[in-house]
Amino acid sequence: MWSDHQVVEDAVAAYLLGAGEPGEADMVRAHLAGCASCRELAGRLSRAVGALPLAVEEVAPPGRLRERILAAAAAEPHSGARSSSAAPASRPPANAPIHLPKRRSFASGRRYERWLPAAAAAAALLVVGGAAGIGISRATAPGVAAAHYALSGSGSLRGASAAVVDFRGTGTTLVEFRGLPSVPAGKVYELWLIPSGGKPVAAGVFAPDGDGSKVLVVPRDLTGVAVMAVTVEQGPGGAAQPTQQPELSGSVT
């Protein structure tokens, strides 16, 4: 409790500037709750503090920043959004630019049979609580406009994850990666959509940003897709079919 009001007023100013000593903020808050004159002071000084950033000459940010922000916001459920109702599968990345993949074909290959069973098994692992480093979760109730899923990594991609948002009825799915290691020279990550009992469909190639994040926007919903998976393939165009076991995958049903 302060007895000297001058000291209190100085502390209020420090509080508003975020320049007080550790623990002082709690004392200021407690004092303001019971002191009308200091609340009035705080009101005045907060207006002055609020003016400080308005003195700065505006600087145009890089054009990509707007897209990054909107993509990250769209990828995370909002408490007031009409089209989302589930908790986010993961927090949004600090850095999530949109990636434009190169053209690629969807011709079928011979190798997918080698890893499709493993991908399908990955979905089953959820049921048994996860095993072998592949953890998969589903975070959205059926019947909502946006469905949320999570991909998680194992092996060399242990620590990587992705949040998937299927904007049902709009033909758009967002995939937001985090914690991806950089790919070796000449290689790319390739995203696969695997229908139940069908062949993987390539959904784009990409390289993560320096912080391991990436946001992909896939122009289709996940109707009929059972598993989403990521492999490392030859760049720049990727492979027609997966050439290795996926180390980042998840159920999207």
């Binding site: 209020v12 700065v56 920043l65 922000i69 993949p101 690629r104 122009p219």
Partner: protein, 213 residues
């Protein structure tokens, strides 16, 4: 499938819900906050269009690096996006809240702190926002506002201005400022409070802030 069919720009999918761009441009900041509260991503785009350059400038002023400033601005806009339900237009402006988020995250980025969250919610600076509603003179208005505040700051004694700028843009505590300035802590406290009082008086005299009723 062509590459441009694989990946779309955000503007193509955020249109799935919410008002059109013209509607959003016509909204006051309070109306924009309401649209954000309804989860309309386009409203976040409009907020960015209004204040993105200012937010980036503030972040850049604090962290001094464009890449870090981008991250700071993104975090701040997402903070607003996630927490707009806690925003109370009666207590402050949307712009003030956003800029407080930018400044605090910039300081955290610069100095590795993380204790600003509560203050953001409790204290939303209330300088009259010139960005309320669609206004063809908005840029002119902002320019005049900026000039007035710069003038107000320039009118302060150098040591007072330095005290609040080191605290606000440098994230320094009064103790650190006292040590740097080689003056007693009580002197720094007095300088900063006086600076803020004078700044308020100057701006109130020009109608840029309103007094508490």
């Amino acid at each position: 499938m062509a590459a441009d069919q694989l990946i779309r720009r955000p503007s193509q999918y955020v249109q799935i819900r919410g008002m059109n761009a013209r509607d959003l441009r016509d909204l006051s900041d309070g109306g924009l906050a309401a649209a954000l509260g309804r989860g309309e991503v386009d409203a976040l785009g409009e907020l960015y269009d209004r204040y993105g350059s200012l937010a980036f400038a503030v972040a850049l002023r604090v962290v001094g690096d464009a890449g870090r400033a981008e991250d700071v601005v993104q975090e701040a806009f997402l903070k607003v996006w996630r927490s707009v339900g806690t925003f109370d237009a009666q207590r402050g402006s949307l712009r003030g809240w956003l800029l407080a988020c930018v400044r605090n995250r910039a300081i955290d980025s610069l100095r590795g702190r993380g204790a600003h969250e509560q203050a953001e919610v409790e204290l939303q600076p209330e300088v009259e926002a010139s960005g309320s509603g669609f206004d063809p003179w908005r840029e002119v208005s902002r320019s005049l506002e900026r000039a007035a505040i710069q003038e107000a700051l320039a009118s302060l004694p150098a040591e007072q201005r330095q005290a609040i700028e080191l605290a606000y843009y440098g994230g320094y505590s009064y103790s650190e400022i006292a040590e740097m300035s080689r003056v007693p802590l009580s002197t720094v406290k007095g300088r900063a409070r006086l600076a803020l009082e004078k700044l308020h008086s100057y701006l109130a005299g020009r109608g840029l802030v309103t007094d508490v009723v």
